[in-house]
């Protein structure tokens, strides 16, 4: 068992002071759905847990003309119940809704999903196609980084000692834009992505794609942005040929592993299919807004 020192600071500044001044390993506690399980494996270790959930700004989400300011610790259950957010970022909400069970969603957060830095994190591709930004606060002040640059490897990210993710900022999508996220799991419910894909698409009044973002998860050490898969959509009506090109580009960009849940060959194929289907859904959502 691990020896825990628990602190629940009331402000981000206090949290940074605790994290940067810690003499033992210090970890931020958000929903705990990854962390508490990881700690069960530790023996004769001391941990400082800094619970951020008593800081009001970490638990709130504001949607305004700027976009969404998402408190990183808000539970997925609370986020997915927000119809205002769902109407603007349906793909992000469907990703949050896919994480674990009802019970897990009651605790798990988008910020925790990001900071755990698994390549299979469901919300990360959806954040990336929406150009989301991480606001990071640390002992030397505040900095911002795009979500696609946050994770640096499996379970690794760019947070330095004393730093924490204080806000996720998602710009308001351009007019006639929508998104979608799909993942594949071997079961119907409650599993971790074998492959995942998010797509954001903008169509003009003639149904021609003028902007797109494609991001794929669980098929490389970090979630990837596939610029080539977005490029092949530009200037098309998101027709069958364009979708096939998206699938090929996504498959080609992936570098998956083989494990008991799927071979690399299988994952490479499936991620293309998911990217193609997510693009079709995002385009259909835009047509729904336009009609």
């Amino acid at each position: 068992m691990v020896s825990v020192v628990y602190e629940a600071p009331a402000s981000v500044q206090d949290a940074v002071a605790l994290l940067s001044g810690a003499e033992i390993t210090a970890t931020v506690l958000a929903g705990g759905t990854d962390l508490i399980i990881q700690m069960q494996g530790l023996v004769n270790e001391s941990r400082l847990l800094v619970d951020l959930k008593k800081i009001p700004a970490m638990m709130e989400a504001t949607l305004d003309a700027e976009g969404l300011q998402l408190g990183p610790c808000m539970s997925c259950a609370e986020l997915t119940s927000r119809e205002d957010i769902k109407s603007v970022y349906p793909g992000l909400i469907e990703a949050a809704y896919l994480i674990g069970s009802t019970q897990i969603q009651g605790r798990a957060s988008v910020g925790g999903n990001l900071c755990n830095s698994s390549p299979a994190a469901d919300t990360v591709p959806a954040l990336i196609v929406n150009n989301a930004q991480c606001v990071i606060v640390g002992p030397s002040g505040e900095r911002s980084i795009q979500v696609e640059d946050f994770a640096t490897g499996v379970g690794q990210n760019c947070l330095e000692k004393g730093e924490l993710l204080s806000l996720i900022r998602i710009p308001l999508p351009a007019a006639n834009t929508s998104d979608a996220y799909l993942r594949f799991i071997p079961r119907t419910e409650m599993d971790i992505a074998v492959a995942g894909a998010a797509v954001s698409i903008t169509l003009d009044d003639d149904g021609i794609c003028t902007a797109a973002r494609v991001s794929i998860g669980a098929v490389a050490p970090t979630v990837l942005v596939v610029a080539k898969a977005a490029e092949v959509l530009l200037g098309t009506k998101v027709d069958v040929q364009a979708l096939q090109a998206v699938a090929e580009a996504a498959s080609k960009a992936s570098s998956p592993i083989t494990d008991r849940r799927g071979t690399d060959e299988y994952r490479r194929h499936v991620v293309g299919v998911l990217a193609k289907r997510a693009a079709a859904i995002a385009a259909e959502r835009v047509r729904g807004i336009q009609s």
């Binding site: 068992m1 691990v2 020896s3 825990v4 020192v5 628990y6 629940a8 506690l29 929903g31 705990g32 759905t33 508490i36 399980i37 700690m39 069960q40 941990r47 847990l49 619970d51 959930k53 539970s75 259950a77 609370e78 674990g100 069970s101 009802t102 019970q103 897990i104 009651g106 605790r107 119907t188 419910e189 409650m190």
Partner: protein, 159 residues
């Protein structure tokens, strides 16, 4: 190790306890407070046997620290019906024989109550998805779902 003093509300009653900061809420409920209705299955958030509500949200108590209960409202199966008067959901689980060994039952009762509070008229598909985090290795779920759907109807009739 120094224990932490926690003041919380469990099933509507203000409750105080001492716990080690690394102890789970599940361990506190069962070992400190003798609220043994909440069961430990997997201990890793997969099975739902330890389901409780935390400030109205359904959670696995094995993935919550006892110290996080400070100032919170906890709901356990002990707060749902009693030996003298069972809750409709408990009656329906008995009526439909929706249990065999019973280990998953408290978690399912807590989850069903949370489901029906959020969605009083779920479709069978919605109920099955909502309860996907409550594993039962005996019944095959069919009787559980019948009990849940019947509970929903009976509770709407009551209102």
């Amino acid at each position: 190790m120094t224990k932490t003093h926690v003041t919380t509300t469990i099933n509507g009653e203000v409750t105080e306890f001492l716990c080690e900061p690394g102890a789970t809420l599940l361990a506190v409920l069962r070992n400190e407070l003798q609220l043994t209705g909440t069961k430990e299955g997997c201990g890793t958030g997969d099975c739902g046997a330890c389901s409780v509500t935390l400030n109205g949200r359904l959670v696995c108590s094995c993935l919550v620290l006892g110290v996080e209960a400070e100032g919170a409202e906890i709901g356990t199966v002990e707060g749902i019906g009693g030996i003298d008067k069972l809750h409709i959901i408990q009656e329906k689980f008995l009526e439909h024989a929706a249990l065999q060994c019973g280990i998953c039952t408290p978690g399912l009762i807590v989850s069903t109550k949370a489901l029906l509070a959020e969605n009083p008229e779920p479709t069978e598909k919605e109920a099955r998805y909502y309860l996907a985090g409550n594993l039962c290795r005996c019944t095959g779920y069919d009787k559980i779902i019948r009990a849940v759907m019947d509970s929903a109807e009976a509770m709407r009739g009551d209102a």
